[in-house]
């Protein structure tokens, strides 16, 4: 048994390694074809980042992590929540408006704002959930539409409540009072930049995700539904209710995506707010195989590539978008590699069983029924 387990671990590690190698090769070929300096690009991407960038990498990863967990909740039961992007923007806006009013003192203000963000995100995802459960609309399409609608809605509401920052054209919500800001921890030596305090929130979300999925009946039902819907129905799972709840949960977590940025860096929701975090979350969740620890590594890798690409234009004269190609190829290569490895594992398992059966005495035909 032990040897088999070891082999399994080797197989599990083989896939991501293979994917990174493929991404390395494909990107090098693209660079070669386009006539860019291959060696220098890799040198720039693979130098160890200065402390300032390390903080940037961690902070970026915190946001990607929460986003990916939100996506992963849906993935685990075959729901494709592409709407994380819209959900976090609507939620971050609502939370920013509330926190900016400063009705509540310091920490309480933050706590209630977080709850508001979760509720708003869940409600926005709830539209897609309702459409799926009641009207049979695929969540893939409805969440994509809701992303665009969220853009319009937030732009409209921002126009209503915005205050104009002095000396700039950017509009944003009212700034959060000093007492409710969380500048973060100086974890990395050698730079004044700080790691978001809400990194703790990301850890909390990761732990909660693992606990709910693996230690509760709800989590079991959710995974069962994802594996085999018919089997889940047969064992008494109410699939419609599960779709509704998991979509709401996914939206709730999605609502938290913008929070580290809001309380640690921006302190207001403006028209310069970062978009596309939800789409990155899909890729990170895929890369991390929907596992809370795997997603953490994937988020770090994603953020590392992001930050390291910033120097490409200045130092090597290559468009930093090459990193997008690397990221895309990694995702594709990872899923292909897992599929190949899974099949290789199956083949090995079959071979092992066949060997063991051959080693044992060939059973007479009439005993076959008993052994099945």
């Amino acid at each position: 048994m032990r040897a088999v387990d070891l082999r399994r671990i080797m197989l599990a590690l083989a896939a991501p390694l293979l994917a990174v190698l493929v991404a390395f090769a494909v990107t090098s070929i693209v660079l070669l074809l386009a006539g860019d300096p291959v060696a220098q690009v890799w040198q720039q991407l693979l130098t160890s980042p200065p402390p300032r960038l390390v903080v940037g990498i961690i902070n970026g990863a915190v946001v990607y992590y929460i986003s990916a967990i939100a996506v992963a909740i849906g993935f685990r039961m075959n729901l494709f929540n592409i709407g994380v992007d819209g959900q976090y923007r609507v939620a971050a806006f609502a939370a920013a408006v509330f926190a900016g009013q400063g009705w509540l003192p310091g920490g309480l203000n933050i706590l209630v704002a977080l709850v508001i963000a979760m509720i708003t995100g869940a409600l926005w995802a709830g539209i897609a959930a309702w459409l799926k459960v009641q009207r049979g609309v695929s969540e893939v399409i409805s969440t994509i539409m809701l992303n665009s609608i969220a853009t319009g809605l937030v732009a409209y509401l921002l126009g209503r409540v915005a205050v104009r920052a002095q000396g700039s054209n950017a509009t944003s919500t009212r700034e959060i009072p000093e007492a409710s800001r969380m500048p973060g921890f100086a974890l990395v030596a050698g730079t004044p930049n700080k790691v978001y305090a809400l990194i703790l929130l990301a850890v909390l979300v990761g732990v909660a995700y693992w606990m709910v999925l693996n230690k509760t009946r709800f989590g079991y039902d959710l995974r069962a539904t994802g594996r085999s819907e018919s089997a889940a129905v047969a064992s008494g799972v109410n699939v419609r209710r599960m779709v509704l709840i998991s979509m709401l949960l996914s939206g709730g977590v999605a609502g938290l995506v913008g929070m580290p940025l809001l309380f640690g860096e921006d302190f207001a929701y403006g028209d310069t707010v970062q978009s596309g975090l939800g789409f990155a979350g899909i890729a990170v969740a895929l890369l991390g195989r929907n596992h809370p620890v795997g997603i953490a590594f994937a988020a770090l890798l994603w953020s590392y590539l992001d930050q390291q690409s910033n120097g490409l234009q200045i130092k090597v004269g290559v468009a930093p978008e090459i990193v997008l190609i690397i990221q895309g190829v990694i995702v594709l290569a990872v899923v292909i590699a897992y599929e190949v490895v899974r099949r290789a594992g199956l083949a090995m398992e079959r071979a092992r069983v066949a060997r063991e059966l051959a080693a044992a005495k060939p059973a007479p035909p009439n005993r076959e029924g008993a052994s099945v």
Binding site: V30, A34, G35, D36, F75, M77, N78, L79, F80, L131, K132, V133, Q134, R135, G136, V137, S138, E139, V140, I141, S142, I144, M145, L146, S148, I149, T151, G152, L153, A155, Y156, G159, T225, G226, E229, V239, R240, V243, F279, I282, A283, L286, A319, E321, I322, V323, L324, I325, Q327, G328, V329, V331, L332, V335, I336, Y338, E339, V340
Partner: protein, 422 residues
């Protein structure tokens, strides 16, 4: 994880509703009714842009790329491969059109868009057909790759060219446009009279005979061709059988892998052409982020069209139309649509209440209809930010009303492995 996702049966249907295909006459009658409705809406609300030939020409311009992307989705999904990577293939197409269009002329640009789109399709086919990975996962990856490749190559190819830059190509030479002489100005005069129904019809016809891009004609030809190939040839039957029951197809000697591969390749090419239209015809320039999610919308249009070419054209037209009138008329025109929506919801509410005896749904729908009607009466215009979301809201509403009558290919989205039990 299977790309087909989770299917929830939302209503218990005791007997399948009679499914009739619309006959030619019914379609003509429906079209006349639609023109009549639009004419009425124009007269009642006074929003002239609802049926102007300018708005309709814009609608065609907006519908063509969506329709091409949707057609791409149709090929792929009819063969059982879900293609959410249409967006990425479209983006590749815009770059191909920009690069080849600038260096080798507009026709080469169109070809370049086709080839680059097919390249995206080839990646999708490699991942889904050869390696059998989840279709949606592969599509998402292709969207990332397409986005990145276009940005990277644009910066590489267009920086330093006159009028070009890292995010856009130099202006491209236009492709020819066609106008029918005599007929076009005559219809224009008739349209100017603002006669109920007649002018509206003239406006529609004028949009069809004035400055029509050759690519639009190609797109229309491709829809007809697709319909003929997929539904009238042995090749099409085999291709569709791969989407319905690949195992059965395999037992009858169809090389399922090959058919799926070809379908996804064609799918990518069509999506690329859609991107080419955006760069070569709609904008005369390659610009970063030009597709703006049209690949996804094409997919929605195809689903709305029940995985059929005719329905797909209807879906794209609906989307192009709502987008065009909000772009041209802004909030005022969208405001006029509110009246239509109110009447529609009220009608559905009454139907639920009287014919189907569903009291709760009926009352809820009527209440919603009254609310929308109030919104129409109390306000003068819809804020521009909301007006911009019209096409998306329209798509959502249509899907919400129509989804239950849709039927996708039976094996759509299921990875198929030769010789493995499903």
């Amino acid at each position: 994880m299977s790309a087909a996702g989770l299917r929830v049966d939302s209503t218990v249907v005791t007997a399948p509703p009679p499914r009739r295909r619309l006959s030619g006459r019914a379609i003509v009658l429906l079209a006349i009714a639609a023109v009549f409705g639009v004419a009425t809406l124009r007269v009642v609300t006074g929003a002239d842009d609802i049926a102007s030939s300018g708005a309709l020409a814009a609608a065609i311009g907006l519908a063509v790329p969506i329709g091409l992307a949707g057609l791409g989705g149709l090929w792929s999904e009819r063969a059982g491969v879900v293609n959410i990577g249409l967006e990425g293939m479209m983006i590749l197409g815009t770059w191909g059109a920009g690069f080849f269009g600038y260096f080798y002329g507009p026709w080469a640009g169109l070809l370049g868009a086709l080839v680059l789109g097919m390249f995206g399709g080839a990646i999708h086919a490699l991942a889904t057909v050869v390696f059998g990975v989840d279709h949606i996962v592969s599509g998402v990856a292709i969207n990332i790759i397409g986005f990145g490749v276009a940005k990277y190559l644009a910066a590489r190819a267009f920086t330093g060219l006159p009028g070009g830059g890292p995010t856009q190509s130099p202006p491209l030479k236009p492709l020819p446009v066609l106008t029918v002489p005599w007929l076009s100005p005559a219809l224009g005069d008739l349209e100017g009279e603002h006669i109920f129904f007649v002018s509206d019809l003239a406006g529609i016809l004028r949009a069809l005979v004035t400055e029509m891009s050759v690519v639009t004609l190609i797109a229309i030809a491709l829809v007809v061709l697709t319909s003929l190939v997929l539904w009238r040839t042995a090749f099409g039957l085999r291709l569709r059988s791969c989407g319905e029951s690949p195992v059965a197809a395999e037992t009858l000697g169809v090389n399922v892998y090959r058919y799926k591969f070809i379908a996804v390749l064609i799918s990518g090419g069509l999506a690329g052409l859609g991107g080419g239209y955006l760069a070569l015809v709609a904008a005369n320039i390659f610009r970063d982020g030009q597709t703006g999610g049209r690949g996804y919308i094409g997919l929605a249009a195809m689903i709305f069209g029940n995985w059929r070419p005719g329905g797909l054209v209807g879906g794209s037209a609906l989307f192009g139309y709502t987008d065009a009138i909000q772009l041209r008329g802004g909030g005022t025109v969208v405001h006029a649509l509110l009246l239509f929506l109110a009447v529609l919801i009220l009608g559905i509410g009454l139907w639920q209440l009287l014919r189907r005896r569903r009291v709760v749904q009926g009352v809820l729908a009527i209440a919603a209809g009254v609310l929308v009607a109030l919104w129409y009466l109390v306000t003068e215009t819809v804020p521009d930010e909301f007006a911009g979301t019209t096409p998306y809201v329209a798509t959502l509403l249509v899907l919400a009303f129509a989804s239950q009558r849709l039927r996708m290919p039976a094996a759509d989205g299921q990875p198929y492995r030769k010789g493995e039990a499903q």
